[in-house]
């Protein structure tokens, strides 16, 4: 089963806040500074909609899931003068609350006693919110508590004298205030606190609706990521955060922590990728991505709307929440392996941007533009943007994607309009910055995937980083969502979609079966399946052993003879077994065998090199090289190894020595020879060999992914008759497939018989005697040490301290040599030598002379 995370649920919320248009929308607050008496400010309130009009507005019904984007697309443009029949404020995905309910939510979201309501208003709001069933009784009680209310006179005084921000209804009726949270710090001014409480409160409703509409327990959520465009903190940490945790607290997510991710309008797409990665990695099981809305963008294009006699359509604060969870075999998956990103070096030309976000990830995944059923770029409602001269943003994005497809010759220029119609959607999202950025589609997408209407969609987030004046860069990321292959239950998914047997394809079926134990690969099980599919195309049957018991499955297959060889990432070979990797050398693409070991060939370095050389010859011959040439990497012990191999050759073991390609030649191979592949078998020690294997396997990719060669090779040792091929956790599909192919060759050429013959020939040429010469030379050294024997035991009650712990045993032996019995030990302050009292002075003298103490 692939373990891609799923999008398990979503919620979408709108809060109708007409009075905040005038008091908090930046178009209006700027106008009040520049032209306080302007006609626009006088005209504006005449263009406000009613709550009922906002609820029945079709784009809003699409946002909360009561209508589809096709319903909107089938509505003749413009939309503001049409109504959705049966419109409700409660929708499949969320709800539309009115201004009073929203002020109430801001009050409940305030933990710093900043919000005060007029008492009668407070009572009314409490009654309204009780019906919504968002909040606990205790939360609702706070609304009418003494500390939470103030008389109208006091509210007016706070606005006029204490820099508080007023909360208004019906244009001028003051029903509450938000006080400043600090007298000096502008970051905690009433204005900023209002913006932040709006973001928090709208986020809170989305979080509550998410668990309510999707039957999720709030306490099951582990992590919340907020991706709005506000910043909270004081003057010492202006963007300290953390909207996520603050909102989740009010929403009752008691087991969650969280953090904020910012990326302008691309924030939600970035956050979705973070959430998917947190779940995919197993770090958290249930991660929510959510974002509250902003007051600043209310009435942003109001001047154009008023000028053209339209209602002010930017009159709602919007929010959303998405739950990303472990794969349940049901909900659509996020393909964490197909992510597009606008890189720093990408540039800002539209075709570069669209190439980076759409073209490049598709190419990498082997998909065509038309393989994506629906693209979800920014989904702004054209009813808002068109009258403002900003055009139809989603449509422009679809045209750009289509134009790129034309440039890539995947569709004809004449097909652009069809492409836009088929793969696009009519935008329905309010222009609340980050809110329209791809994510409004996720609620509809979950439904379409479950209904099997949509198979694959791409979500594209774009962000105007340059507005922050820290960079001129643009930004964006994209990801692909696919319908879940599992069709109903987890069990079903494991049984049917978990392909483990790969049958050889084509005419050259070799009748060989290889097991691949996947335990700890860095590239996952889909990569493993790809490897085995490649092997199948080369005529080799394979079985994938996955899961915690992968190794025991593998041993079982080997034991029963069902598999003749196994490929695995680690294996405990007995001492005496070498491994022979096979790589492609870069100079001329010539294969080379690296004779080394992932285990222990011999405890003596030179003997290990000799044994690796013989194993290398066996592997090369069994792989089809008739007379492999042998070179020894120019490392410590190379000369001694070469001497033994020459003696073996002189005694009749037929070894073909290679000659270095460097001017002075010789059997010792230099670095250049490695790159050129000057020999067939390159003899190395374990550590150097391992370094070289990794280098040769990944030099084309930069390291993390081993793309070239045949892996670390078979374990070969005298009498060892299992064929175990080693690959690494970084080995990609081509290397794993290479290892399977290498194993198949060894089996086809009867490697066991070749090994037996080679070892016999080496023994006949005196291998044993030559190796024992090395070990007897060593033994002599050891014996000299062993000559020192302890004098007769004495009772040791005196202690000598001050000797380095590493020298302690040598110091004891020095005393023994002088005929003094001593024992090593550990005293209260460090290592000591214990000695009989009568020997103390003599011992100190001996140790002082030998330099152990001062």
């Amino acid at each position: 089963m692939n373990n891609f995370p799923v999008i398990k649920g979503s919620s979408y919320v709108l809060a109708f806040t007409p009075d905040m248009i005038m008091h908090s929308g930046t178009t209006q607050t700027t106008e009040k500074v520049v032209n306080p008496d302007s006609e626009y400010l006088r005209e504006l309130p005449k263009h406000y909609r009613t709550y009922e009009e906002v609820v029945s507005y079709i784009p809003n019904q699409v946002y909360i899931g009561n209508a589809t984007y096709d319903d909107l697309g089938n509505t003749p443009f413009p939309f503001y003068d049409k109504k959705w029949e049966n419109a409700k404020s409660d929708g499949a995905f969320g709800s539309i609350v009115d201004e009073e309910e929203f002020y109430g939510t801001m009050h409940i979201s305030d933990v710093f006693e900043l919000v005060l309501f007029e008492p009668e208003f407070a009572k009314r709001v409490k009654e309204k919110l009780e019906k919504r069933k968002f909040f606990t009784e205790a939360q609702l009680e706070k609304l009418i508590a003494d500390k939470s209310t103030a008389s109208r006179e006091e509210l007016e005084r706070l606005v006029n004298e204490e820099h508080a921000e007023g909360l208004y209804i019906n244009l001028t009726e003051l029903v509450g205030v938000i006080k400043r949270a600090h007298d000096v710090d502008v970051n905690l001014s009433a204005h900023v606190m209002l913006e932040n409480l709006v973001a928090k409160a709208s986020n809170v409703i989305a979080l509550i609706e998410l668990v309510k509409k999707n039957n999720i327990k709030p306490e099951d959520i582990d992590y919340v990521i907020d991706c709005c465009e506000e910043a909270c903190g004081d003057m010492n940490q202006r963007g300290g955060g953390n909207f996520a945790k603050a909102s989740a607290e009010t929403a009752g997510y008691t087991n969650a922590t969280g953090s904020d991710i910012r990326g302008f309008c691309a924030g939600p797409a970035h956050a979705m990728i973070h959430a998917a990665s947190l779940v995919h990695s197993g770090t958290f099981k249930n991660v929510v991505v959510s974002g509250g809305g902003c007051t600043a963008k209310l009435g942003m294009n109001g001047k154009d709307h008023v000028k053209k006699g339209l209602p002010v359509l930017e009159d709602c604060v919007a929010s959303f929440a998405i739950l990303v969870s472990e794969n349940d075999g049901i909900h659509p998956v996020i393909r964490t392996d197909i992510v597009g990103s606008h890189k720093i070096g990408t540039g800002s030309a539209p075709q570069m941007v669209i190439t980076a976000l759409v073209g490049e990830p598709l190419t990498r995944a082997g998909l065509k533009f038309t393989d994506i059923d629906k693209y979800a770029p920014e989904l702004q409602n054209p009813d808002i943007t068109k009258p403002a001269g900003a055009g139809d943003v989603p449509e422009a994005n679809y045209k750009m994607i289509a134009a790129l497809a034309v440039m890539k010759k995947e569709i004809e220029r004449s097909q652009i309009a069809d492409f836009v119609k088929k793969h696009g959607m009519t935008g329905w999202a309010p222009t609340q910055g980050h809110i329209p950025s791809g994510v409004p589609y996720l609620g509809h997408l979950i439904k379409e995937c479950l209904d099997k209407k949509t198979k694959r969609a791409m979500i594209v987030g774009k962000g105007s980083l340059f507005l922050g004046r820290l960079t001129n860069l643009f930004d964006g990321v994209s990801f692909i969502v696919e319908a879940n292959e599992g069709s109903g239950s987890v069990e079903h998914d494991i049984e049917s979609s978990n392909e483990t047997v790969f049958k050889a394809k084509g005419t050259s079926t070799k009748g060989i079966n290889v097991a691949y134990a996947l335990e700890g690969s860095e590239h996952g099980s889909q990569e493993a399946r790809l490897a085995l599919k490649i092997a199948a195309s080369k005529g080799i049957d394979t079985v994938l052993c996955d899961g915690a018991d992968a190794h025991s499955q593998m041993e079982k297959l080997l034991g029963s003879g069902e598999a003749q060889a196994a490929v695995t990432m680690h294996y405990p070979f007995p001492i005496g077994v070498s491994t022979v990797g096979k790589v492609i050398t870069p100079a001329k693409g010539k294969p080379m065998y690296i004779a080394n070991t992932t285990g222990t060939s011999d405890t003596d370095r030179v003997a290990a090199l000799v044994k690796n050389a013989i194993a290398g010859i066996i592997a090369a011959k069994a792989d089809g090289v008739e007379r492999p040439t042998v070179g020894i990497a120019n490392i410590d012990g190379a000369r001694a190894c070469a001497k033994i191999l020459r003696t073996l050759k002189d005694n009749g073991y037929d070894i073909e020595f290679a000659d270095s390609a460097r001017a002075d030649g010789g059997v010792e191979m230099r670095g250049n020879d490695l790159l050129m592949g000057s020999c067939d078998v390159m003899v190395m020690d374990a550590l150097t060999g391992n370094l070289m294997m990794k280098l040769f396997s990944s030099y084309t990719t930069g390291g993390q992914y081993e793309s070239v060669g045949y892996g670390y090779g078979p374990g070969i040792g005298e009498g060892y008759d299992k064929l175990i091929m080693i690959v690494s956790r970084a080995s990609g599909a081509p290397v794993v497939a290479g290892a399977v192919e290498y194993a198949a060759n060894l089996i086809a050429n009867d490697w066991k018989a070749i090994a037996k013959a080679e070892y016999a020939a080496a023994h006949k040429a005196g291998l044993d005697a030559l190796l024992s010469e090395i070990s007897s030379a060593k033994k002599a050294d050891v014996e000299e040490e062993a000559e020192v024997v302890a004098p007769p035991k004495e009772v040791c009650t005196e202690a000598i301290a001050g000797i380095e712990v590493m020298d302690l045993e040598d110091a004891v032996k020095t005393l023994w040599k002088a005929g003094v019995y001593a024992e090593s030990g550990m005293g209260c302050t460090g290592p000591i030598i214990q000695i009989a009292p009568a020997r103390l002075e003599q011992s100190m003298d001996i140790l002082r002379k030998a330099g152990y103490i001062e």
Partner: protein, 43 residues
């Protein structure tokens, strides 16, 4: 007479049209001096 050559060009790009830096690249090839470049955002 050329429109752009040796003139002081002020670029007002659009995030959903042609962004400022892209226009800059074009104007430079016509021999213009870029006096200022910015990108506007309507959404």
């Amino acid at each position: 007479m050329a429109i752009l050559k040796d003139k002081y060009v002020v670029v007002i790009g659009d995030r959903d049209g042609v962004p400022g830096p892209a226009i800059e690249e074009c104007a430079k090839t016509a021999g213009a001096n870029i006096a200022y470049s910015s990108t506007e955002c309507f959404v």
